[in-house]
Structure formats: structure tokens, C-alpha cells
């Protein structure tokens, strides 16, 4: 991994963490009221995120090359049963806790220390799922990017 990739990850991570937190998602109410269909904020925000990113990806695709890591490879995969089962289990926790793996950080950073309990649970859940699946099949969340990804 080049130093450029590490630096990119760090700096984009800072921007991402700042925006997640400053948008108030670390406050339980923001996502909870969204999931109760009382406040459209999270849907508007996520819609704006995906539209902006999709527009940017169109431009990247035209270029075809990344700045630091060779030809652009976009992660496109068919739907698998594991995706849907996993997402359903994820949805239960997402619904009850009104938080997700990134938002727990926004919670803790703004003083919501209970978020640390959720984050500890997330690490335990990741570990448990690793015990439940055969090691060769899927060693990491994103290892599937190798092999089956389609070139842009």
C-alpha cells in the first residue's frame, strides 16, 4: 500500500467523520425519527450523497484511471442470499439502536458514551460471524472486491 493511499484514507476519513458528526447523526433522535418516518433528514441526506457520488463516479469512469492505484475497478456484484440475510440482521440492530458502525464514533465523540457499548458489540458481532462461516469462503468484508469486480 502506497503512502498516498494511506494519506488519502486518513484525510477522507477525517472529512467523512466530520460530516457524519456535524450532521447530528450521533444524536439518537436524528436516525430514530427518520426510521419512524417522522423526519426526512436522513433520507434527503443519503439521497444527496448517492446522487453526488453517482455523478462523480460517471466522470471517473470516463477517465478510467485512478490517481494512485491504476485502472479504476468499481465493485459490482449480483445479489446473493448472504447479502439479504445479513442486511436483515443488520437492520434489526440499526432499527433498535438507531446507529451504525460509523455513527457510533459520532456518538462517542460528542459525549454519547453509550455508543462505545454498541461499538464493542459490533466488534463482537464481526468476530462471531467470522466463527460462523467457513474461513476460506469470505475472510473479509471486502475481499470480494478481488476477482469478481468488473472493470469500469
Amino acid at each position: 500500500m502506497s503512502r498516498g493511499v494511506r494519506l488519502t484514507a486518513l484525510l477522507v476519513g477525517v472529512a467523512f467523520g466530520f460530516l457524519l458528526t456535524a450532521s447530528g447523526l450521533g444524536d439518537y433522535r436524528t436516525i430514530h425519527e427518520g426510521l419512524l418516518l417522522q423526519d426526512p433528514y436522513i433520507y434527503l441526506m443519503m439521497g444527496a450523497t448517492v446522487l453526488t457520488a453517482a455523478g462523480g463516479v460517471r466522470l471517473l469512469r470516463r477517465r478510467g484511471r485512478t490517481a494512485l492505484a491504476g485502472p479504476l475497478v468499481l465493485p459490482r456484484h449480483p445479489v446473493r442470499r448472504s447479502t439479504v440475510y445479513g442486511a436483515a440482521v443488520f437492520g434489526v440492530g440499526f432499527g433498535v439502536g438507531a446507529t451504525c458502525p460509523g455513527i457510533t464514533v459520532a456518538m462517542v465523540a460528542t459525549g454519547g458514551l453509550w455508543g462505545a457499548v454498541v461499538l464493542a458489540g459490533i466488534l463482537a458481532g464481526l468476530w462471531l460471524r467470522g466463527r460462523a462461516e467457513p474461513p476460506a469462503r469470505r475472510p473479509t468484508t471486502s475481499s470480494r472486491a478481488g476477482g469478481r469486480s468488473r472493470r469500469a
Binding site: 436524528t30 441526506m45 444527496a48 457499548v117 466488534l123 473479509t140 475481499s143
Partner: protein
């Protein structure tokens, strides 16, 4: 603490800003922005297993720093755990939140991503898998939230 930030950034600022983060990760580093994968890499490091994608640990480190910057610049402080924290005594809240985390982590690894990896990055490139995952976890979360709201008589 400074008070430079509004209570909540408008969605039309925060949304496109995060969209640009996704584009930057694809366009510069050729990787898919996602958070749960970073926690998995951290877990590998804790287990003394090989860290296969070290950039993810840098990304999640940046996420922590950025969240602290937003908190220092005046993002409203969070107390307790919202309506859920008010409805449950601490002796119940800890196991409830830990179990909530376990389902989130277990589900994210099973599904191959979470709200960021599937919901934002995968949906942005139109990956069928990510669209299905996102529709599933949002659908389930809305139903679960409404059920809990109903069962608790509107308390949560």
C-alpha cells in the same frame, strides 16, 4: 469548545460532502469507502492476524479524528441514549445496546458491508447487491422501529 457549527448541517451540505468522500476514495485510491470493514481489520490486528487492507484502519482513524474535530467545533453534545436510554434502566441498557451492536456487526459481515459500504458506496455505482442490501436493512429497520414504538406505547 467552540460554537462554530450549526445544530445540524443542512442535508444539502452534508449529503453532497459525503458523496465527494466516496468519489475521492474511488478516484484516488481505487477502493470502496466503508466503515465496518475497518472495524474488521482492527479486529484482525487485535487477534494478531494479518491486516489485509491496512488503508481501512487509516480511514477509521481519520473518522475518529474528524468526529472529534466536529465535536470540538460545537456539534451539540449527546447525553444518554435518547428515548431508549430513558425507557430502560442502566442495568438493562448495557446488555440491550451490546446485543444491538452484535446484530449490527454480525449482519454487516454477513452482508459484506453496512450503511456506508453498501448504502452509500455500493449504491452509488449501482451494484445490485448493494441496492438489495440497502433496501433490506432500511425496510427492516423501519418496521422494527415502528414495532418498538407501538409496543412501548410511543415511549421509544
Amino acid at each position: 469548545m467552540l460554537h462554530l457549527l450549526p445544530h445540524q448541517l443542512p442535508w444539502w451540505v452534508a449529503g453532497p460532502g459525503i458523496g465527494l468522500c466516496v468519489v475521492a476514495m474511488y478516484g484516488l485510491a481505487n477502493v470502496k469507502l466503508g466503515v465496518s470493514g475497518g472495524w474488521l481489520q482492527l479486529l484482525f490486528a487485535l487477534q494478531r492476524r494479518p491486516v489485509t487492507e491496512p488503508w481501512r484502519i487509516w480511514f477509521n482513524g481519520g473518522l475518529v479524528l474528524g468526529a472529534l474535530v466536529a465535536a470540538a467545533l460545537g456539534t451539540a453534545a449527546v447525553r444518554g441514549y435518547g428515548a431508549l436510554g430513558a425507557a430502560l434502566p442502566a442495568s438493562w441498557l448495557v446488555p440491550a445496546l451490546a446485543l444491538t451492536g452484535v446484530t449490527i456487526g454480525y449482519g454487516a459481515r454477513w452482508a459484506g458491508g453496512c450503511t456506508s459500504g453498501h448504502g452509500i458506496s455500493g449504491c452509488s455505482v449501482g451494484s445490485p447487491e448493494s441496492l438489495a442490501a440497502t433496501a433490506t436493512f432500511f425496510g427492516v429497520a423501519v418496521v422494527v422501529s415502528l414495532l418498538v414504538h407501538l409496543v412501548t406505547g410511543g415511549a421509544v
